[in-house]
Protein backbone atom coordinates (compact mmCIF):
# COMPACT_ATOMS: atom_id res chain seq x y z
CA UNK A 1 0.00 0.00 0.00
CA UNK A 2 2.81 2.35 0.99
CA UNK A 3 4.73 1.35 -2.12
CA UNK A 4 1.77 2.05 -4.35
CA UNK A 5 1.27 5.45 -2.77
CA UNK A 6 4.88 6.49 -3.20
CA UNK A 7 4.94 5.24 -6.79
CA UNK A 8 1.80 7.22 -7.51
CA UNK A 9 3.30 10.29 -5.85
CA UNK A 10 6.43 9.97 -7.94
CA UNK A 11 4.33 9.64 -11.08
CA UNK A 12 2.36 12.73 -10.06
CA UNK A 13 5.59 14.64 -9.46
CA UNK A 14 6.93 13.67 -12.88
CA UNK A 15 3.69 14.74 -14.54
CA UNK A 16 3.78 18.10 -12.76
CA UNK A 17 7.40 18.62 -13.85
CA UNK A 18 6.54 17.76 -17.46
CA UNK A 19 3.63 20.23 -17.49
CA UNK A 20 5.81 22.94 -15.98
CA UNK A 21 8.53 22.31 -18.57
CA UNK A 22 6.02 22.42 -21.44
CA UNK A 23 4.50 25.69 -20.19
CA UNK A 24 8.00 27.07 -19.71
CA UNK A 25 9.02 26.16 -23.26
CA UNK A 26 6.00 28.03 -24.58
CA UNK A 27 6.59 31.03 -22.34
CA UNK A 28 10.27 31.63 -23.07
CA UNK A 29 9.85 32.81 -26.71
CA UNK A 30 6.94 35.00 -25.60
CA UNK A 31 9.07 36.59 -22.87
CA UNK A 32 11.95 37.21 -25.24
CA UNK A 33 9.63 38.68 -27.88
CA UNK A 34 7.98 41.01 -25.36
CA UNK A 35 11.28 42.55 -24.27
CA UNK A 36 13.01 42.57 -27.69
CA UNK A 37 13.10 46.17 -28.90
CA UNK A 38 15.18 45.10 -31.91
CA UNK A 39 15.30 41.49 -33.10
CA UNK A 40 16.28 40.86 -36.70
CA UNK A 41 16.51 37.40 -38.22
CA UNK A 42 18.61 35.26 -38.31
CA UNK A 43 19.95 36.27 -34.86
CA UNK A 44 18.99 33.80 -32.15
CA UNK A 45 18.66 36.52 -29.51
CA UNK A 46 17.48 40.14 -29.80
CA UNK A 47 19.96 42.89 -30.64
CA UNK A 48 18.40 45.30 -28.17
CA UNK A 49 16.27 44.66 -25.06
CA UNK A 50 13.71 47.15 -23.78
CA UNK A 51 10.16 48.00 -22.76
CA UNK A 52 8.92 49.48 -26.03
CA UNK A 53 6.16 46.87 -26.24
CA UNK A 54 4.66 47.87 -22.91
CA UNK A 55 5.17 51.59 -23.66
CA UNK A 56 3.15 51.29 -26.87
CA UNK A 57 0.53 49.06 -25.25
CA UNK A 58 -0.03 51.57 -22.46
CA UNK A 59 0.38 54.70 -24.63
CA UNK A 60 -3.35 55.36 -24.41
CA UNK A 61 -5.87 54.30 -21.77
CA UNK A 62 -7.19 51.41 -23.86
CA UNK A 63 -5.15 48.65 -22.31
CA UNK A 64 -6.01 49.35 -18.64
CA UNK A 65 -9.66 49.78 -19.65
CA UNK A 66 -9.65 46.46 -21.51
CA UNK A 67 -7.94 44.80 -18.56
CA UNK A 68 -10.66 46.08 -16.19
CA UNK A 69 -13.42 45.05 -18.62
CA UNK A 70 -11.96 41.56 -19.00
CA UNK A 71 -11.51 41.10 -15.26
CA UNK A 72 -14.98 42.40 -14.40
CA UNK A 73 -16.68 40.31 -17.08
CA UNK A 74 -14.74 37.14 -16.23
CA UNK A 75 -15.31 37.47 -12.47
CA UNK A 76 -19.02 38.23 -12.89
CA UNK A 77 -19.52 35.46 -15.45
CA UNK A 78 -17.79 32.99 -13.15
CA UNK A 79 -19.88 33.96 -10.13
CA UNK A 80 -23.16 33.98 -12.09
CA UNK A 81 -22.19 30.80 -13.93
CA UNK A 82 -21.52 28.86 -10.73
CA UNK A 83 -24.69 30.10 -9.02
CA UNK A 84 -26.88 29.36 -12.04
CA UNK A 85 -25.23 26.00 -12.74
CA UNK A 86 -25.53 24.83 -9.11
CA UNK A 87 -29.16 23.62 -9.14
CA UNK A 88 -28.84 22.13 -12.62
CA UNK A 89 -25.65 20.31 -11.64
CA UNK A 90 -27.36 18.98 -8.51
CA UNK A 91 -30.30 17.57 -10.46
CA UNK A 92 -28.03 16.01 -13.09
CA UNK A 93 -25.40 14.82 -10.62
CA UNK A 94 -27.96 13.10 -8.41
CA UNK A 95 -29.46 11.46 -11.51
CA UNK A 96 -32.90 12.73 -10.71
CA UNK A 97 -33.79 13.11 -14.40
CA UNK A 98 -35.03 10.12 -16.28
CA UNK A 99 -33.69 11.27 -19.66
CA UNK A 100 -30.73 13.57 -19.10
CA UNK A 101 -29.32 13.07 -22.61
CA UNK A 102 -31.47 15.84 -24.10
CA UNK A 103 -30.28 18.27 -21.42
CA UNK A 104 -26.65 17.38 -22.04
CA UNK A 105 -27.14 17.94 -25.78
CA UNK A 106 -28.77 21.33 -25.18
CA UNK A 107 -25.94 22.23 -22.80
CA UNK A 108 -23.28 21.29 -25.31
CA UNK A 109 -24.91 23.15 -28.20
CA UNK A 110 -23.20 26.54 -27.68
CA UNK A 111 -19.87 24.72 -27.63
CA UNK A 112 -20.55 23.15 -31.03
CA UNK A 113 -21.26 26.45 -32.81
CA UNK A 114 -18.50 28.93 -33.64
CA UNK A 115 -18.42 31.62 -30.90
CA UNK A 116 -18.48 34.43 -33.43
CA UNK A 117 -21.71 33.03 -34.92
CA UNK A 118 -23.28 32.86 -31.45
CA UNK A 119 -22.06 36.40 -30.81
CA UNK A 120 -23.54 37.78 -34.04
CA UNK A 121 -26.85 36.11 -33.31
CA UNK A 122 -26.90 37.42 -29.77
CA UNK A 123 -25.88 40.93 -30.81
CA UNK A 124 -29.02 41.18 -32.95
CA UNK A 125 -31.04 40.63 -29.78
CA UNK A 126 -28.82 42.75 -27.58
CA UNK A 127 -29.07 45.79 -29.91
CA UNK A 128 -32.84 45.63 -29.49
CA UNK A 129 -32.58 45.06 -25.75
CA UNK A 130 -30.10 47.93 -25.39
CA UNK A 131 -27.44 45.55 -24.06
CA UNK A 132 -25.02 45.86 -26.95
CA UNK A 133 -21.63 47.15 -25.89
CA UNK A 134 -22.48 46.98 -22.17
CA UNK A 135 -20.88 44.95 -19.38
CA UNK A 136 -24.13 43.03 -18.64
CA UNK A 137 -24.32 42.26 -22.35
CA UNK A 138 -20.80 40.84 -22.32
CA UNK A 139 -21.52 38.81 -19.19
CA UNK A 140 -24.74 37.39 -20.66
CA UNK A 141 -22.95 36.48 -23.90
CA UNK A 142 -20.07 34.84 -22.04
CA UNK A 143 -22.51 32.88 -19.89
CA UNK A 144 -23.57 31.06 -23.06
CA UNK A 145 -20.18 29.34 -22.95
CA UNK A 146 -19.46 29.48 -19.23
CA UNK A 147 -22.69 27.75 -18.15
CA UNK A 148 -22.17 24.43 -19.97
CA UNK A 149 -18.68 24.09 -18.53
CA UNK A 150 -19.90 25.08 -15.07
CA UNK A 151 -22.71 22.52 -15.11
CA UNK A 152 -20.58 19.71 -16.54
CA UNK A 153 -17.80 20.24 -14.00
CA UNK A 154 -19.99 20.87 -10.97
CA UNK A 155 -22.21 17.84 -11.47
CA UNK A 156 -19.33 15.50 -10.70
CA UNK A 157 -19.34 16.83 -7.12
CA UNK A 158 -23.00 16.03 -6.52
CA UNK A 159 -24.28 12.52 -5.96
CA UNK A 160 -25.60 10.09 -3.38
CA UNK A 161 -22.59 10.50 -1.11
CA UNK A 162 -22.96 14.27 -0.74
CA UNK A 163 -26.72 13.85 -0.40
CA UNK A 164 -26.17 11.35 2.38
CA UNK A 165 -23.93 13.71 4.33
CA UNK A 166 -26.34 16.60 3.78
CA UNK A 167 -29.16 14.44 5.08
CA UNK A 168 -27.08 13.62 8.15
CA UNK A 169 -26.67 17.38 8.61
CA UNK A 170 -30.43 17.81 8.41
CA UNK A 171 -31.02 15.09 10.99
CA UNK A 172 -28.30 16.61 13.20
CA UNK A 173 -30.18 19.90 13.28
CA UNK A 174 -28.12 22.04 10.89
CA UNK A 175 -30.06 24.92 9.34
CA UNK A 176 -29.96 25.14 5.52
CA UNK A 177 -27.35 27.89 5.77
CA UNK A 178 -25.22 25.86 8.21
CA UNK A 179 -25.52 22.81 5.96
CA UNK A 180 -24.29 24.84 3.00
CA UNK A 181 -21.31 26.25 4.92
CA UNK A 182 -20.30 23.23 7.02
CA UNK A 183 -21.24 20.33 4.77
CA UNK A 184 -21.87 21.12 1.11
CA UNK A 185 -19.24 23.73 0.27
CA UNK A 186 -16.37 21.92 2.08
CA UNK A 187 -17.32 18.71 0.30
CA UNK A 188 -17.45 20.47 -3.07
CA UNK A 189 -14.32 22.53 -2.50
CA UNK A 190 -12.08 20.99 -5.12
CA UNK A 191 -14.91 20.70 -7.64
CA UNK A 192 -15.83 24.35 -7.09
CA UNK A 193 -12.19 25.41 -7.50
CA UNK A 194 -11.84 23.49 -10.75
CA UNK A 195 -15.18 24.73 -12.11
CA UNK A 196 -14.45 28.32 -11.05
CA UNK A 197 -11.06 28.26 -12.72
CA UNK A 198 -12.42 26.87 -15.96
CA UNK A 199 -15.31 29.35 -16.02
CA UNK A 200 -12.93 32.24 -15.44
CA UNK A 201 -10.60 31.13 -18.21
CA UNK A 202 -13.43 30.46 -20.67
CA UNK A 203 -14.72 34.01 -20.18
CA UNK A 204 -11.24 35.57 -20.03
CA UNK A 205 -10.17 34.08 -23.36
CA UNK A 206 -13.48 34.66 -25.17
CA UNK A 207 -12.82 36.49 -28.43
CA UNK A 208 -15.50 35.95 -31.07
CA UNK A 209 -18.54 36.77 -28.94
CA UNK A 210 -16.87 39.73 -27.26
CA UNK A 211 -16.00 41.22 -30.63
CA UNK A 212 -19.54 40.73 -31.91
CA UNK A 213 -21.28 42.08 -28.80
CA UNK A 214 -19.04 44.95 -27.79
CA UNK A 215 -16.57 46.11 -30.45
CA UNK A 216 -16.57 49.52 -28.78
CA UNK A 217 -15.69 48.12 -25.36
CA UNK A 218 -12.80 45.77 -26.14
CA UNK A 219 -11.78 43.02 -23.79
CA UNK A 220 -8.10 42.09 -23.63
CA UNK A 221 -8.19 39.43 -26.40
CA UNK A 222 -10.09 41.80 -28.71
CA UNK A 223 -7.46 44.46 -28.09
CA UNK A 224 -4.59 42.01 -28.45
CA UNK A 225 -5.40 40.23 -31.69
CA UNK A 226 -4.82 43.03 -34.27
CA UNK A 227 -1.30 43.55 -32.89
CA UNK A 228 -0.22 40.03 -33.79
CA UNK A 229 0.09 41.02 -37.43
CA UNK A 230 1.03 44.67 -37.01
CA UNK A 231 3.41 44.73 -34.02
CA UNK A 232 4.35 41.35 -32.54
CA UNK A 233 6.26 42.94 -29.65
CA UNK A 234 3.14 44.75 -28.42
CA UNK A 235 1.15 41.56 -28.95
CA UNK A 236 3.70 39.64 -26.85
CA UNK A 237 3.62 42.28 -24.09
CA UNK A 238 -0.18 42.14 -24.02
CA UNK A 239 -0.04 38.33 -24.06
CA UNK A 240 2.00 38.38 -20.87
CA UNK A 241 -0.71 40.51 -19.25
CA UNK A 242 -3.27 38.16 -20.70
CA UNK A 243 -1.52 35.16 -19.20
CA UNK A 244 -0.98 36.68 -15.73
CA UNK A 245 -4.48 36.17 -14.25
CA UNK A 246 -4.72 32.75 -15.85
CA UNK A 247 -1.48 31.73 -14.16
CA UNK A 248 -2.60 33.24 -10.87
CA UNK A 249 -6.00 31.54 -11.06
CA UNK A 250 -4.30 28.26 -11.94
CA UNK A 251 -1.98 28.54 -8.93
CA UNK A 252 -4.87 29.36 -6.57
CA UNK A 253 -7.00 26.52 -7.92
CA UNK A 254 -4.17 24.00 -7.73
CA UNK A 255 -3.56 25.03 -4.11
CA UNK A 256 -7.24 24.71 -3.28
CA UNK A 257 -7.44 21.28 -4.87
CA UNK A 258 -4.28 20.14 -3.12
CA UNK A 259 -5.44 21.29 0.33
CA UNK A 260 -8.81 19.63 -0.22
CA UNK A 261 -7.34 16.22 -1.04
Amino acid sequence: MLLVTSARERLGGAAAAAVTAAVGLLLVPLLVRAFADAWRAPALLPQRWGLRGFDVAFADGQTPAALVTSLAVAATSTACGLVLAWPAARVLGERRMRHPAAVFLLLAMPLLVAPYAVGVGLSEWFVRLDLSGTLPGLVLAHLTFVLPYAVLLLLSGFGPQLRGVEEMGRAAGLSPWQRLRWVTVPALRSTLAAAGLLCFLVSWSQYGTSLAIAPTRPTLPVLLLPFIGSDPQVAAALSLLFLAPAMLALAVAVRAIRSAT
Binding site: G164, E167, A171, G173, P186
Partner: protein, 348 residues
Protein backbone atom coordinates in the same frame (compact mmCIF):
# COMPACT_ATOMS: atom_id res chain seq x y z
CA UNK B 1 -34.52 9.92 29.07
CA UNK B 2 -36.73 7.87 26.79
CA UNK B 3 -40.20 7.73 25.32
CA UNK B 4 -42.53 5.22 23.75
CA UNK B 5 -42.68 5.10 19.96
CA UNK B 6 -46.02 4.41 18.32
CA UNK B 7 -46.49 3.98 14.58
CA UNK B 8 -50.09 3.46 13.46
CA UNK B 9 -51.16 2.80 9.88
CA UNK B 10 -48.12 4.54 8.44
CA UNK B 11 -48.20 4.83 4.66
CA UNK B 12 -45.21 6.21 2.79
CA UNK B 13 -45.15 6.45 -0.97
CA UNK B 14 -42.13 8.30 -2.28
CA UNK B 15 -42.72 9.17 -5.91
CA UNK B 16 -46.22 7.70 -5.84
CA UNK B 17 -45.41 3.99 -5.38
CA UNK B 18 -46.28 2.85 -1.86
CA UNK B 19 -43.27 1.43 -0.02
CA UNK B 20 -44.96 1.30 3.37
CA UNK B 21 -48.55 0.04 3.35
CA UNK B 22 -50.05 0.69 6.75
CA UNK B 23 -47.26 -0.07 9.21
CA UNK B 24 -48.02 -0.62 12.90
CA UNK B 25 -45.11 -0.72 15.31
CA UNK B 26 -44.70 -0.06 18.99
CA UNK B 27 -41.48 0.32 20.96
CA UNK B 28 -41.90 0.86 24.70
CA UNK B 29 -39.86 3.46 26.53
CA UNK B 30 -36.31 2.28 27.11
CA UNK B 31 -36.78 -0.81 24.97
CA UNK B 32 -34.46 -2.07 22.26
CA UNK B 33 -36.47 -3.08 19.20
CA UNK B 34 -35.14 -4.62 16.03
CA UNK B 35 -36.86 -4.31 12.69
CA UNK B 36 -35.82 -7.16 10.44
CA UNK B 37 -36.78 -8.08 6.91
CA UNK B 38 -35.44 -8.83 3.45
CA UNK B 39 -33.97 -5.93 1.47
CA UNK B 40 -36.66 -3.90 -0.23
CA UNK B 41 -39.23 -4.58 2.50
CA UNK B 42 -39.29 -0.88 3.49
CA UNK B 43 -37.27 -0.98 6.72
CA UNK B 44 -35.09 2.02 5.90
CA UNK B 45 -38.10 3.93 4.61
CA UNK B 46 -39.88 3.46 7.95
CA UNK B 47 -36.79 4.63 9.83
CA UNK B 48 -36.54 7.68 7.59
CA UNK B 49 -40.23 8.41 8.08
CA UNK B 50 -39.82 8.28 11.87
CA UNK B 51 -36.77 10.56 11.62
CA UNK B 52 -38.72 13.04 9.49
CA UNK B 53 -36.65 12.50 6.36
CA UNK B 54 -39.55 10.96 4.43
CA UNK B 55 -43.08 12.29 4.00
CA UNK B 56 -45.76 10.25 5.80
CA UNK B 57 -48.83 10.17 3.60
CA UNK B 58 -51.21 8.47 6.03
CA UNK B 59 -51.12 7.29 9.62
CA UNK B 60 -49.45 8.70 12.71
CA UNK B 61 -46.04 8.53 14.31
CA UNK B 62 -45.99 9.41 18.03
CA UNK B 63 -43.06 9.68 20.39
CA UNK B 64 -43.84 9.99 24.09
CA UNK B 65 -47.40 10.95 23.20
CA UNK B 66 -46.21 13.73 20.86
CA UNK B 67 -47.38 13.54 17.25
CA UNK B 68 -44.32 13.97 15.07
CA UNK B 69 -46.12 15.04 11.88
CA UNK B 70 -44.97 18.51 10.86
CA UNK B 71 -42.06 18.61 13.32
CA UNK B 72 -38.74 19.07 11.48
CA UNK B 73 -36.17 16.26 11.95
CA UNK B 74 -33.93 18.06 14.43
CA UNK B 75 -36.81 19.03 16.76
CA UNK B 76 -38.08 15.46 17.09
CA UNK B 77 -35.50 14.45 19.75
CA UNK B 78 -34.64 11.57 17.45
CA UNK B 79 -31.07 10.66 16.46
CA UNK B 80 -30.10 8.58 13.46
CA UNK B 81 -27.05 6.40 12.84
CA UNK B 82 -27.00 5.66 9.13
CA UNK B 83 -25.66 2.56 7.46
CA UNK B 84 -22.53 4.48 6.41
CA UNK B 85 -20.94 6.71 9.09
CA UNK B 86 -21.52 9.93 7.06
CA UNK B 87 -18.76 11.88 8.82
CA UNK B 88 -17.41 15.21 7.61
CA UNK B 89 -13.87 14.51 6.40
CA UNK B 90 -12.65 18.09 6.88
CA UNK B 91 -13.46 18.11 10.60
CA UNK B 92 -11.65 16.53 13.55
CA UNK B 93 -13.20 13.53 15.26
CA UNK B 94 -14.40 15.61 18.25
CA UNK B 95 -15.96 18.24 15.97
CA UNK B 96 -17.82 15.52 14.09
CA UNK B 97 -19.18 14.20 17.37
CA UNK B 98 -20.24 17.66 18.54
CA UNK B 99 -21.74 18.78 15.21
CA UNK B 100 -25.36 18.72 16.50
CA UNK B 101 -24.27 20.76 19.53
CA UNK B 102 -22.55 23.30 17.29
CA UNK B 103 -25.75 23.60 15.26
CA UNK B 104 -27.62 24.22 18.53
CA UNK B 105 -25.24 27.05 19.41
CA UNK B 106 -23.33 25.36 22.26
CA UNK B 107 -19.93 26.99 22.91
CA UNK B 108 -16.70 25.38 21.77
CA UNK B 109 -15.35 24.52 25.21
CA UNK B 110 -18.52 22.72 26.28
CA UNK B 111 -18.75 20.99 22.90
CA UNK B 112 -15.26 19.59 23.23
CA UNK B 113 -15.88 18.47 26.81
CA UNK B 114 -19.10 16.65 25.85
CA UNK B 115 -17.38 15.11 22.81
CA UNK B 116 -14.53 13.87 25.00
CA UNK B 117 -16.96 12.16 27.39
CA UNK B 118 -18.83 10.49 24.55
CA UNK B 119 -15.66 9.39 22.75
CA UNK B 120 -14.57 7.80 26.00
CA UNK B 121 -17.90 5.97 26.22
CA UNK B 122 -17.59 4.54 22.69
CA UNK B 123 -13.97 3.51 23.34
CA UNK B 124 -12.22 6.15 21.23
CA UNK B 125 -10.80 8.30 24.03
CA UNK B 126 -7.47 9.03 22.36
CA UNK B 127 -8.80 10.04 18.96
CA UNK B 128 -10.51 13.40 19.66
CA UNK B 129 -7.98 15.47 17.74
CA UNK B 130 -7.53 13.12 14.79
CA UNK B 131 -9.04 13.64 11.36
CA UNK B 132 -11.63 11.03 10.43
CA UNK B 133 -9.78 9.93 7.31
CA UNK B 134 -7.41 7.53 9.02
CA UNK B 135 -10.11 5.74 11.06
CA UNK B 136 -11.30 2.21 10.30
CA UNK B 137 -14.90 1.53 9.35
CA UNK B 138 -15.69 0.37 12.88
CA UNK B 139 -14.10 3.44 14.46
CA UNK B 140 -15.99 5.72 12.08
CA UNK B 141 -19.25 4.04 13.03
CA UNK B 142 -18.42 4.56 16.72
CA UNK B 143 -17.88 8.26 16.00
CA UNK B 144 -21.28 8.32 14.29
CA UNK B 145 -22.80 6.60 17.33
CA UNK B 146 -21.23 9.19 19.66
CA UNK B 147 -22.59 11.97 17.43
CA UNK B 148 -26.08 10.46 17.60
CA UNK B 149 -25.95 10.30 21.41
CA UNK B 150 -24.54 13.79 22.02
CA UNK B 151 -27.97 15.45 21.99
CA UNK B 152 -29.45 12.97 24.51
CA UNK B 153 -32.19 11.80 22.13
CA UNK B 154 -35.48 10.25 23.27
CA UNK B 155 -35.28 7.80 20.39
CA UNK B 156 -32.21 6.35 18.72
CA UNK B 157 -32.57 4.93 15.21
CA UNK B 158 -29.83 2.71 13.79
CA UNK B 159 -29.96 1.67 10.13
CA UNK B 160 -27.89 -1.51 9.65
CA UNK B 161 -25.17 -0.12 11.92
CA UNK B 162 -22.98 -3.20 11.55
CA UNK B 163 -23.22 -3.56 7.78
CA UNK B 164 -20.27 -1.33 6.87
CA UNK B 165 -18.02 -2.85 9.57
CA UNK B 166 -15.50 -5.68 9.16
CA UNK B 167 -17.10 -9.00 10.18
CA UNK B 168 -14.52 -9.56 12.94
CA UNK B 169 -15.28 -6.12 14.45
CA UNK B 170 -19.05 -6.52 14.38
CA UNK B 171 -19.27 -8.43 17.61
CA UNK B 172 -17.54 -5.66 19.58
CA UNK B 173 -19.69 -2.95 18.03
CA UNK B 174 -22.83 -4.98 18.68
CA UNK B 175 -21.91 -5.30 22.36
CA UNK B 176 -21.15 -1.58 22.54
CA UNK B 177 -24.56 -0.71 21.10
CA UNK B 178 -26.32 -2.99 23.60
CA UNK B 179 -24.26 -1.68 26.54
CA UNK B 180 -24.82 2.01 25.68
CA UNK B 181 -28.51 1.37 25.16
CA UNK B 182 -28.84 -0.39 28.51
CA UNK B 183 -26.88 2.28 30.38
CA UNK B 184 -28.86 5.15 28.92
CA UNK B 185 -32.23 3.38 28.70
CA UNK B 186 -32.83 5.22 25.44
CA UNK B 187 -35.65 3.85 23.29
CA UNK B 188 -33.89 2.29 20.32
CA UNK B 189 -34.95 0.94 16.95
CA UNK B 190 -32.35 -1.04 15.02
CA UNK B 191 -32.69 -2.19 11.43
CA UNK B 192 -31.03 -5.29 10.07
CA UNK B 193 -31.65 -7.93 7.41
CA UNK B 194 -29.75 -10.59 9.38
CA UNK B 195 -32.11 -12.69 11.52
CA UNK B 196 -29.37 -13.95 13.85
CA UNK B 197 -28.10 -10.43 14.46
CA UNK B 198 -31.71 -9.38 14.98
CA UNK B 199 -32.30 -12.06 17.60
CA UNK B 200 -29.11 -11.12 19.45
CA UNK B 201 -29.89 -7.40 19.52
CA UNK B 202 -33.60 -7.36 20.23
CA UNK B 203 -35.80 -7.03 23.30
CA UNK B 204 -38.65 -7.00 20.85
CA UNK B 205 -38.42 -8.09 17.24
CA UNK B 206 -40.57 -6.97 14.34
CA UNK B 207 -40.58 -8.60 10.93
CA UNK B 208 -41.35 -6.45 7.94
CA UNK B 209 -42.43 -7.99 4.65
CA UNK B 210 -43.52 -6.00 1.61
CA UNK B 211 -44.19 -2.78 3.43
CA UNK B 212 -45.99 -4.19 6.50
CA UNK B 213 -44.96 -5.33 9.96
CA UNK B 214 -46.33 -8.86 9.88
CA UNK B 215 -45.37 -9.91 13.40
CA UNK B 216 -43.88 -8.16 16.41
CA UNK B 217 -42.95 -10.13 19.49
CA UNK B 218 -40.09 -11.49 21.54
CA UNK B 219 -37.38 -12.96 19.28
CA UNK B 220 -38.12 -16.53 20.44
CA UNK B 221 -41.76 -16.23 19.38
CA UNK B 222 -40.89 -15.29 15.82
CA UNK B 223 -38.41 -18.15 15.51
CA UNK B 224 -40.60 -20.81 17.12
CA UNK B 225 -44.19 -19.59 16.94
CA UNK B 226 -44.49 -17.71 13.65
CA UNK B 227 -47.87 -16.29 12.77
CA UNK B 228 -47.65 -17.27 9.11
CA UNK B 229 -45.67 -19.44 6.72
CA UNK B 230 -43.97 -16.33 5.36
CA UNK B 231 -42.72 -15.42 8.85
CA UNK B 232 -41.62 -19.02 9.39
CA UNK B 233 -39.74 -19.04 6.10
CA UNK B 234 -37.89 -15.80 6.89
CA UNK B 235 -36.72 -17.13 10.26
CA UNK B 236 -35.56 -20.41 8.77
CA UNK B 237 -38.47 -22.66 9.83
CA UNK B 238 -38.57 -24.09 6.36
CA UNK B 239 -40.63 -27.24 7.00
CA UNK B 240 -44.31 -26.63 6.33
CA UNK B 241 -46.66 -29.61 6.74
CA UNK B 242 -50.22 -29.14 5.48
CA UNK B 243 -52.95 -31.67 5.99
CA UNK B 244 -55.91 -32.74 8.06
CA UNK B 245 -55.82 -33.57 11.77
CA UNK B 246 -57.90 -36.54 12.85
CA UNK B 247 -57.68 -37.89 16.38
CA UNK B 248 -54.21 -36.54 17.16
CA UNK B 249 -52.74 -37.51 13.78
CA UNK B 250 -51.88 -35.05 11.03
CA UNK B 251 -52.55 -36.74 7.67
CA UNK B 252 -50.13 -34.79 5.49
CA UNK B 253 -51.49 -33.90 2.03
CA UNK B 254 -48.63 -35.62 0.22
CA UNK B 255 -48.95 -38.79 2.29
CA UNK B 256 -47.70 -39.88 5.71
CA UNK B 257 -48.88 -39.25 9.26
CA UNK B 258 -47.42 -37.17 12.08
CA UNK B 259 -48.56 -37.22 15.69
CA UNK B 260 -49.65 -33.75 16.78
CA UNK B 261 -51.54 -31.98 19.56
CA UNK B 262 -54.56 -29.95 18.63
CA UNK B 263 -58.14 -30.11 17.42
CA UNK B 264 -59.31 -31.93 14.31
CA UNK B 265 -59.56 -30.13 10.99
CA UNK B 266 -57.44 -28.60 8.26
CA UNK B 267 -54.13 -27.40 9.66
CA UNK B 268 -50.67 -26.20 8.77
CA UNK B 269 -47.76 -27.14 11.01
CA UNK B 270 -44.26 -25.67 11.06
CA UNK B 271 -41.12 -27.32 12.36
CA UNK B 272 -37.58 -25.92 12.39
CA UNK B 273 -34.94 -28.02 10.58
CA UNK B 274 -32.84 -28.34 13.75
CA UNK B 275 -35.83 -29.95 15.57
CA UNK B 276 -36.18 -32.73 13.01
CA UNK B 277 -34.54 -36.04 14.04
CA UNK B 278 -33.69 -39.23 12.24
CA UNK B 279 -35.67 -42.19 13.51
CA UNK B 280 -35.69 -45.43 11.55
CA UNK B 281 -38.72 -46.65 13.50
CA UNK B 282 -40.53 -43.34 12.75
CA UNK B 283 -43.61 -43.18 10.63
CA UNK B 284 -42.52 -40.45 8.23
CA UNK B 285 -40.31 -41.79 5.46
CA UNK B 286 -38.46 -39.49 3.04
CA UNK B 287 -35.66 -39.71 0.50
CA UNK B 288 -32.41 -37.73 0.86
CA UNK B 289 -31.81 -35.47 -2.15
CA UNK B 290 -28.89 -33.53 -0.72
CA UNK B 291 -26.55 -33.96 2.23
CA UNK B 292 -24.18 -31.06 2.85
CA UNK B 293 -21.64 -30.77 5.63
CA UNK B 294 -22.03 -27.21 6.99
CA UNK B 295 -19.25 -27.16 9.57
CA UNK B 296 -21.26 -27.36 12.79
CA UNK B 297 -24.09 -29.53 11.41
CA UNK B 298 -25.15 -31.60 8.42
CA UNK B 299 -27.88 -30.09 6.26
CA UNK B 300 -30.18 -32.69 4.74
CA UNK B 301 -32.66 -31.89 2.02
CA UNK B 302 -35.35 -34.54 1.78
CA UNK B 303 -38.36 -35.24 -0.36
CA UNK B 304 -41.51 -37.27 0.01
CA UNK B 305 -43.85 -36.94 -2.97
CA UNK B 306 -44.13 -33.19 -3.45
CA UNK B 307 -43.27 -32.47 0.18
CA UNK B 308 -39.82 -30.88 0.56
CA UNK B 309 -38.19 -31.07 3.99
CA UNK B 310 -34.98 -29.86 5.58
CA UNK B 311 -33.19 -31.26 8.60
CA UNK B 312 -30.10 -30.07 10.47
CA UNK B 313 -28.42 -33.02 12.12
CA UNK B 314 -25.33 -33.34 14.33
CA UNK B 315 -22.07 -32.95 12.40
CA UNK B 316 -21.18 -36.61 12.88
CA UNK B 317 -24.26 -37.93 11.06
CA UNK B 318 -23.55 -39.95 7.93
CA UNK B 319 -26.40 -40.25 5.47
CA UNK B 320 -26.02 -41.16 1.82
CA UNK B 321 -27.61 -39.36 -1.09
CA UNK B 322 -30.75 -41.17 -2.26
CA UNK B 323 -31.15 -43.08 0.99
CA UNK B 324 -34.64 -43.64 2.38
CA UNK B 325 -34.79 -42.49 6.01
CA UNK B 326 -37.43 -42.23 8.71
CA UNK B 327 -38.07 -38.81 10.27
CA UNK B 328 -39.33 -37.94 13.72
CA UNK B 329 -41.05 -34.60 14.45
CA UNK B 330 -41.17 -34.09 18.25
CA UNK B 331 -44.71 -32.96 19.08
CA UNK B 332 -43.53 -30.16 21.37
CA UNK B 333 -41.53 -28.61 18.50
CA UNK B 334 -44.36 -28.69 15.99
CA UNK B 335 -46.13 -25.36 15.77
CA UNK B 336 -49.61 -25.06 14.35
CA UNK B 337 -50.13 -21.83 12.38
CA UNK B 338 -53.16 -19.82 13.52
CA UNK B 339 -56.13 -20.87 11.36
CA UNK B 340 -56.85 -17.39 10.03
CA UNK B 341 -53.36 -17.17 8.60
CA UNK B 342 -53.17 -20.61 7.06
CA UNK B 343 -55.17 -19.98 3.86
CA UNK B 344 -53.30 -16.73 3.19
CA UNK B 345 -49.90 -18.32 3.63
CA UNK B 346 -50.92 -21.28 1.51
CA UNK B 347 -51.06 -18.96 -1.48
CA UNK B 348 -47.81 -17.11 -0.80
Amino acid sequence: MSATLHCRGVVVAPGGTPVLRSVDLEVSAGQRAVLVGPSGAGKTTLLRAIAGLEHVREGTVELGGRRLAGIPPHRRRVSVVFQEPRLLPHLRVEDNVALPLRAAGVGRRERRARAATLLDEVGLAGLAGRTVRGLSGGEQQRVALARALCTDPELLLLDEPLAAVDPNRREALRRLIVRLQQERRVTTLIITHDRVEAAELADTLALMLEGRVVQQDEPRELFERPRSAAVARFFGATNVLRGTVRAGLLHVDGGGCVAVDGPDGLATYIIRPEAVRLDDEGGFGARVTEAAYAGTFVRLTLIRGRQRLEAHLPAGTTVAFGEEVGLCFPADRLWRLPDDEAPVSAGS
